[in-house]
């Protein structure tokens, strides 16, 4: 019998030493590597990082849903109301998992707008979800109408439509309404806007902001586009090479980044206004999960790298309140002096 699990009152979900491991013919791939991160109650946390850095794998692990044959290691602590306390998601039985998935933690998967069943109406997508979780059909439909209105869709039209009759932006908004059907307290969104044009993107971001203000939901928003979530997120976790390398309140991440990679990300994005001459791409490429570089994984691309960086893996340290960085030379990081 284990001791009672605990979480600080302002934390609803915590990954502890979380890894996702695949054994492949060419070697062992740790596609999420010993990540520890807290998700605060009622706050929006963005997970940013380039393609292949492990964002989707980490989010899927939070729901114990990584694709076969991936193995999850570590602990995922979650404050569950339905299960009556803090639980380790990785230790739950299939039955207990069914209770918390969708009803307490819902996820809108990457590219999910393309995985609607094309042969059934939107209405039936709502009814199927309701039935699977024992929600009364009539109540479910009433709720669906309210939620569709909330996401600025016409319920009468949309419920009777087939998926192909909706635009990409409308499908994505429908998915968000669907994910809210069972009142989850944590909503995970994996690249919900990446296939959308800029107006639909902004409509979605504004909506999530409204939803957040209204329900004070905890949200986890995964994206490779940092500016996209600037107006929405409270916290940012920057992932590089399957690890979180910097975590903190968004103001600190944008105004006082302490990891060279975060600086690189900020500089690589052309601004809408202001000078263009500071825009610089990060040279080099992202490592492969089999055989990542020893020491700090960023050293092959880092202008500050020294011998220590090449040999010793930097630990996460709290550099100011709530702001964590894994870099040996964080004190010397200066935005204006990197990649000039």
């Amino acid at each position: 019998m284990e001791g009672v699990l605990e979480l600080p009152p302002n934390v609803v979900l915590r990954a502890e030493d979380l890894s996702v491991v695949y054994k492949m013919p060419r070697g062992i791939a740790r596609v999420v590597d010993r990540v520890t991160i807290d998700f605060r109650v009622g706050r929006v946390t963005a997970i940013v990082g380039e393609s292949g850095s492990g964002k989707t794998m980490m989010a899927s692990a939070l729901m114990k849903l990584v694709p076969y044959p991936g193995k999850i290691e570590g602990r995922i602590l979650f404050r569950s109301d339905l299960l009556g306390g803090v639980v380790d998601i990785l230790k739950l039985s299939p039955k207990e998992l069914r209770i918390i998935r969708w009803r307490e933690i819902a996820m809108v998967f990457q590219g999910a707008q393309n995985s609607f069943n094309p042969t059934i109406k939107i209405k039936d997508h709502f009814l199927d979800t309701a039935r699977a979780h024992g929600l009364d059909e009539k109540i479910a439909l009433e709720k669906a109408c309210k939620l569709l209105e909330l996401v600025k869709l016409d319920p009468e039209r949309v419920l009777e439509s087939y998926p192909h009759q909706l635009s990409g932006g409308m499908k994505q908004r429908t998915l968000i309404a669907l994910s809210l059907l069972l009142d989850p307290k944590v909503l995970i969104l994996d690249e919900p806007t990446s296939a959308l044009d800029l107006i639909s993107q902004k409509v979605l971001i504004d909506l999530l902001k409204d939803i957040h203000e209204r329900y004070h939901m905890t949200m986890i928003f995964i994206t490779h586009d940092l500016p996209l979530i600037a107006g929405l997120a409270h916290y940012v976790a920057v992932m590089y090479a399957f690890k979180v390398v910097e975590f903190g309140p968004i103001d600190k991440i944008i105004r006082n980044p302490r990891h060279p990679y975060t600086v690189g990300l900020l500089k690589a994005i052309p601004p809408l206004r202001g000078e263009l001459r500071f825009v610089k791409p990060i040279p080099g490429s992202h490592p492969d999960p089999v055989n990542p570089p020893p020491g700090c994984r960023f050293w092959p691309r880092c202008p500050l790298a020294t011998d220590v960086c090449r040999k010793v893996e930097p630990k996460m340290v709290e550099v100011e309140k709530d702001h964590f960085v894994a870099c040996h030379r964080w004190e010397e990081v200066e935005v204006s002096k990197l990649w000039t």
């Binding site: 380039e50 107006i199 490779h224 586009d225 996209l228 690589a268 994005i269 052309p270 809408l272």
Partner: protein
């Protein structure tokens, strides 16, 4: 620049309509994908087309490259009507198609998945007779790959498309398109599928090529900051499209810092910005969030159903495209004489 000089390419009042047929005979509707666009492209001009999904960017881009036939209007290549050439001077048409290259929105559609990078890059060289022997081809391909910094080139020539990263795929696609040394490249959303952190890299590659060859670009994107990046670095223009028409056209700074058309204002409100104060304040002010169908565009100003400033006249009469400043055009009753 001599204003009387014949442009490389000119688009005059172009319309491209698609007829949608009912399953059993009859016509269901007409999509007015491009509905009256005029444009001049001179050597080294860079024009970014922006606008939301379905506004006709791809269709206009394809029409410029001779890949779809206009329903109305003309496309002139060095002063000659290209669809007339198609009928009367196949050689002239061939030359135009060679000189104006289209870089597709979906890179997968451009690559045969069962061919290696080497075979992919060889095909146009042989088709357009840039090289005559296989040996010559190998040297050329290796040079192309090192030019676009896909290194080591010897390793990449034997890879298949699925073995490339998103950024590498776009670089190789760009190399493929430019291997025949075109004068105009229509790049359809080249950066959209690429990671934000790698977009500048790809745009810089396009800019280096522009510096060397003064190629003209039609750069299609729905990302305003990137459209600004590429046009500001080349003295180019941004063209904002809405339901098949230009609603605003002008230099990037002016268009972004002082957007005139209410639709351009909405695009600027929608564009992500890192400045936290701006980002937290910015909200869309559209009356309707979804774009109306291009099959049945609204009467009068096409934007009136979503426009926060719509007046009576906007629902009745279409505003003309007027030049408000030198090189700056807008199509809106707020600026036009009634």
């Amino acid at each position: 620049m001599d204003v009387n000089e014949v442009p490389l390419l000119e688009v005059r009042d172009l319309k491209v309509h698609f007829v949608i047929k009912k399953r059993i005979g009859g016509v269901k509707g007409v999509v007015r994908a491009v509905d009256g666009v005029s444009l001049k492209i001179r050597k080294g001009d860079v024009i970014a087309l922006v606008g939301e999904s379905g506004c006709g960017k791809t269709t206009l881009g394809k029409a410029i490259a001779g890949l779809v036939k206009p329903t109305e209007g003309t496309i002139l290549w060095k002063g000659r009507d290209v669809w007339k050439m198609y009928r009367e001077d196949p050689k002239g048409f061939f030359e135009y198609k060679l000189r104006v290259q289209y870089m597709p929105q979906d890179p997968y559609s451009a690559f045969n998945p069962s061919k290696t990078v080497f075979e992919i890059l060889c095909t146009p060289l042989l088709k357009w007779k840039r090289v005559t022997s296989r040996a010559e081809c190998i040297d050329y391909v290796l040079k192309i790959l090192s030019d676009i910094k896909v290194t080591p080139p010897e390793e990449y020539i034997f890879r298949y498309p699925h073995q490339l990263s998103g950024g590498e795929r776009q670089r190789i696609l760009f190399a493929l398109i430019t291997s025949v040394e075109p004068d105009v490249v229509v790049a359809d959303e080249p950066i959209t599928a690429v990671d934000v952190a790698l977009r500048v890299d790809l745009m810089n590659l396009m800019l280096e090529y522009w510096e060397r060859r003064r190629v003209a670009y039609v750069f299609i994107s729905h990302e305003l900051a990137s459209a600004r990046y590429i046009t500001e670095k080349t003295g180019g223009k941004i063209g904002v499209m809405y339901l098949g028409k230009f609603v605003e056209f002008g230099p990037p700074r002016a268009v972004i810092e002082n957007p005139l058309h209410p639709y351009t204002q909405a695009l600027v409100d929608a564009a992500p910005e890192l400045d936290l104060e701006i980002a937290r304040k910015k909200r869309l002010r559209l009356r309707e969030v979804d774009i109306p169908s291009a099959t049945n565009p609204p009467k009068g100003c096409r934007f009136h159903t979503r426009c926060p400033y719509a007046m009576d006249i906007c629902t009745e009469k279409e505003p003309p495209l007027i030049e408000v400043e030198n090189g700056r055009y807008v199509r809106c009753w707020l600026y036009a004489k009634r």
